[in-house]
Amino acid sequence: MKIYVCVKQVPDTSGKVAVKENGVLDRASMKTIINPDDLNAVEAALQIKDQEGCEVIAVTMGPPAAESMLRELYAMGIDKAVLISGREFGGSDTFATSQVIAGGIHHLGLEKDDIIFCGRQAIDGDTAQVGPQIAEKLNIPQVTYAGEVKYENGKVFVKRMTEDGYMKVEVETPVLITCIKELNEPRYMTVRGILECFDRPITVLDYPTLENEPLIDKTTIGLAGSPTTIFQSFTPPVAKGGEMLEGTTQEKTDALAAKLAKAQLI
């Protein structure tokens, strides 16, 4: 039994965001973090490892710099780290990305008793599409929005959260599960893990390695091959803005109340 966890290194969008003069995001200048929901996926995998003693393999697609994130995951307790990296993969949309990651997992081997965990969605794109698309490419079932996960004898029991409640489902492995923040509290890195993580190996799957993967269609990967394309990016117009109320705080709030009263809003 193996557990794959799909993770992504993302710019920390909660902090300051740098935009280049041409309007493109300056990713290089931004701090990167492990995508928050992916940490819940890692924790879900490690909990099953604690229970079953199976191997946990973290898989990411990204630039060589994503290695630092994989080392942090070693310090949390994963057993193997895989970096899918190549210029040919750069600029992939979710369709293209899921194809490459599914191809990578297929290359590494997906067996009957394996599980794949993903975070619900990444904070840079907020699409929540890659998980289900990987499941489809690998032709295995999916359960999204997992708020509780239990594993027992080749079966996974999941509480799938919905807008108006939840549904309880059960499914035999192999299955792909996407995890929400409420699923668990990700563990910290251990001191020993931090000390050792720099000596742990990173398996790199580059384009030549995956080129002949049957799940990867070379015409639909990377920036040029992705089905979706950015037609136009833009920032909203600068401050048409409303009326800034002036004066002392009291004058400002009085003016506001007067305006609301006049507009029959209070």
Binding site: L25, E136, Q142, E170, K181, T228, F231, T253, A261
Partner: protein
């Protein structure tokens, strides 16, 4: 069945996947059908609803009432409740057979589970959580004129472009991007509940809508549903609220007091709901259900008050259609003031108590 998503000339019509739960359509269905009507008119094509379920045929007229020309109904006991596998099988089968040009799906926990699975199988692109859709280039340029800072006089566009132009916040919500899917069909898009405007219900159209049964072959799903539990809504429905007071990172100085002030203001303004920005929800001050923005809820209340919210694009995406926006922020150049009807630069802990008093006084004076 011959299906090639790259033969784009074979695909026509605008489709909306109409989600039902326990035999009831979702509000989002009506929003999407109304938006779909607009797109179908721009494209001079038909608007078609697709309804999956069991004993749900009666709902088709409701879909027609909001503008669908035709509704395909796929009924099967295995489609009674949502399942990724059976729904994806059914939807993909009819799409491969009938070949729609555009397929819109609500961005609910069902739509966001179903759409990517189908897009991967249908070999086409999918854009998540769109906030604006256009087909006609003139309409799109009108939109850019309003919504972007681009100087259109310096730009040349191919005016004959008929791809669906799907706009959404991008890069963590700090910019907007319009996405197209030029090489494959259908163009697929999920649309967040509450974003598109629901049109008027038309009794005549409801009666006259063409309803057609469609049958599919389904396998038993591997994921077995053991139990479905519907929980009583804890709070009020945020999407329908008339008054929303939202708090952001600005209350971090004294969260308890900040929340209490927000609640008091909401009460004084009239039975309002307290919600929060993404940082406020991520910090655990409010429930996920109460998050406003691209990754949370979209609201269009009569009064929206933003307390200590800086106003990233991703937040504005969830509130910019509010009728009156009041913003309080210590930073006078915070982007939230761009979206505000009335802005007050100042410390919310000082401003809000005075604001409550002023509103009480103004009400008493009436």
């Amino acid at each position: 069945m011959e299906y090639n998503s790259a033969k784009i000339e074979d695909f026509r019509d605008i489709w909306v996947f109409c989600e039902q739960r326990r035999g009831k359509l979702m509000e989002t269905d009506f929003e999407l059908v109304s938006e779909g009507r607009k797109l179908a008119d721009e494209r001079h094509s038909q608007l078609v609803g697709v309804l999956l379920g069991y004993n749900v045929k009666d709902l088709a007229n409701e879909i027609g009432g909001y503008g669908a020309d035709k509704v395909y109904v796929i009924e099967d006991p295995a489609l009674k409740d949502y399942s990724s596998e059976t729904y994806a099988d059914a939807l993909c089968q009819i799409v491969m057979d009938k070949k729609p040009e555009v397929l819109l799906i609500g961005a609910s926990t069902i739509g966001r589970d179903l759409a990517p699975r189908c897009a991967a199988r249908l070999h086409t692109g999918l854009t998540a959580d769109c906030t604006h859709l256009d087909i006609d280039m003139n309409k799109y340029l009108d939109f850019l004129k309003e919504a972007s800072s681009i100087d259109l006089s310096t730009r040349k566009f191919k005016m004959e472009d008929t791809n669906l132009k799907m706009t959404r916040p991008a890069f963590g919500g700090h910019m907007m991007a319009t996405i197209t899917c030029p090489r494959f069909r259908p163009c697929m898009s999920t649309v967040r509940p509450g974003v598109m405007k629901k049109g008027e219900f038309d009794e005549t159209k409801a009666k006259n809508v063409l309803v057609e049964d469609y049958s599919v072959t389904l396998k038993d799903p591997l994921v077995k549903v053991v139990e479905i539990v519907t929980e009583e809504k804890k709070g009020v429905d945020l999407t329908g609220a008339e008054i929303v007071v939202a708090v952001g990172a600005g209350i971090s100085k004294d969260v308890e007091k900040g929340m209490a002030l927000a609640q008091e203001l909401a009460d004084v303004l009239g039975n309002g709901v307290v919600a929060g920005s993404r940082p406020a929800v991520e910090a655990g001050w409010l429930d996920h259900e109460l998050q406003i923005g691209q990754t949370g809820k979209t609201v269009r209340p009569k009064i929206y008050v933003a307390l200590g919210i800086s106003g990233a694009i991703q937040h504005k995406a969830g509130m910019q259609d509010s009728e009156t926006v009041i913003a309080v922020n210590t930073n006078p150049s915070a982007p939230i003031f761009e979206a505000a009807t009335y802005g007050i630069a100042g410390d919310l802990f000082e401003v809000v108590p005075k604001m409550i008093a002023s509103i009480k006084a103004a009400k008493a004076a009436k």
